[in-house]
């Protein structure tokens, strides 16, 4: 397969970036998108040029490291997959592929296609946890009965890998799907009730501080999320936020 890649190149966070065109040949349909970029980088290194910087780690759709806006969609044209799970068979010989970093004020570019997503870590640190005394008297989580439906919904919310595709897809660069998933996974469990009020207030406050946009319910985040995190979580977060605000 012969392709033309248009890739965002940016030397560092302060530099002005630009799109650079790279022709590439010998790409097979069974390759993953990241393997295709590996081929490009090998070629660039052999020519003595700077390879393209991009995030990756597990390469099996678990870690949430890989990102990339591919032809105008986060993680590319396939659904419920991360960039590392995207196969080149989704493209045709002769295609032009535009590759950009996830764009958001809260996700500044570090270099080329790599962005700083530590804003997600700070939202998580603001309340995405439960405080448990680990002095030796810890109660086994399984000793507390949980409704099956709640346990399932909590689990689905917890499958969010924090890749940032929701932010990248949203026209407002909103992080409400991510934040709501992290709130929901605790809000649905009895263990999460103790800190429920402060959790939602602090996490939403941190989300706003980071400079993410506001949700206008376009639903793009849900469609592009590689883990299929549901918009129901945003409604739940809004309910939690409203009731926490009224409680003061």
């Amino acid at each position: 397969m012969k392709l033309t890649l248009k890739i965002w190149r940016q030397a560092n966070a302060q530099a002005k970036g630009q799109m650079v065109t790279y022709p590439i040949d010998g790409i097979e349909g069974d390759m993953s998108f990241l393997e295709m970029l590996d081929v490009l980088n090998e070629d660039l290194i052999n020519k003595g040029e700077e390879p393209v910087v991009f995030d990756h780690d597990c390469r099996e759709g678990i870690c949430g490291s890989c990102s990339l806006q591919i032809n105008g969609e986060p993680h590319g044209p396939d659904r419920l997959v991360t960039t590392c799970q995207l196969h080149m068979r989704m493209f045709n010989d002769g295609d032009e592929i535009v590759i950009e970093p996830f764009r958001a004020k809260a996700f500044p570019v570090i270099k080329d296609l790599m962005v700083d997503r530590s804003s997600f870590d700070r939202i998580q640190q603001a309340g995405g946890y439960i405080s448990v005394n680990t002095s030796g008297n810890t109660i086994d989580a399984n000793a507390i009965p949980v409704e099956k439906e709640d346990a399932d919904d909590s689990f689905y919310a917890a499958t969010c890998i924090g890749c940032g595709a929701c932010v990248a897809a949203c026209k407002n660069a909103s992080a409400m799907l991510f934040t709501s998933a992290k709130i929901s996974q605790y809000a649905l469990l009895p263990q999460g009730q103790v800190e429920a009020t402060t959790r939602v207030l602090n996490m939403v406050e941190q989300m706003d501080k980071e400079g993410f946009g506001n949700c206008t319910n376009t639903g793009a985040c849900e469609i592009e999320c590689p883990k299929g995190i549901s918009l129901e979580n945003i409604a739940r977060m809004n309910r939690e936020y409203l009731s926490a605000s009224l409680e003061g």
Binding site: K6, W8, M19, Q69, N71, G72, E73, P77, V98, E100, R103, A104, K105, A106, A169, K171, N172, A173, S174, G211, F212, G213, N214, C215, T216, N217, T218, G219, A220, I223, E224, L231, E232, I234, A235, R236, M237, N238, R239, E240, Y241, L242
Partner: protein, 217 residues
Amino acid sequence: MALSGLFLVFFLGQHFTINVTSVISPDTFNEWSHFMGTNLLVQAVLQPILIFGVIFHFVMGFILEIRNRNARAIKYKSYKGNTNSTWASRNMIISGLVILAFLGLHFYDFWAPEMNIKYFKGDMSGLLDPDDVNSGFRYYEELVHKFESPIRVGIYCLAFILLAVHLWHGFASSFQSVGFNNKYSKALKGFTKFYAVAIPLGFIFIALYLHFNQLPH
């Protein structure tokens, strides 16, 4: 944003209910218009709340749009919004601006003359000729007169199409924003989509009906 939107949607239904009587029974339209235009509770309490609701909704809309645009300082070279969301949901600011411009015309057409007659000229009678008690109410006559111009009717129809687009996303979205998402959501969403199309279509029908059924002069 969501709460003011829901309030305006409710008002729109009430406005439509009164307007549709102009097609069914001009006398009823005149009586209801006179009641709404002279009732102290409506004029002194509900009207200011409505005006506040309208202003609050569009000011918040502008603030939201500016904040959201700032959240992505560098735009994508390639962005395929149509693969994951509707045009209506991504362009609420466009449909909203058209509705706002239409509201300016609507206020100029109906609200400003009403305020002038009632509160500046001091004529609260609602009669065609305030000196003749047998002249009948003026509301239906004024309404029909406004829809003589095909250009005005065209502008009204266009604005109502954009209102339908705005409501198509906005009405359902407001329930999500206030946290309403449960087993009734699907049925509610169906109702919001029906309302989003039916009410603006009804207003278009009224405008066209009044245009093509002018009073004999």
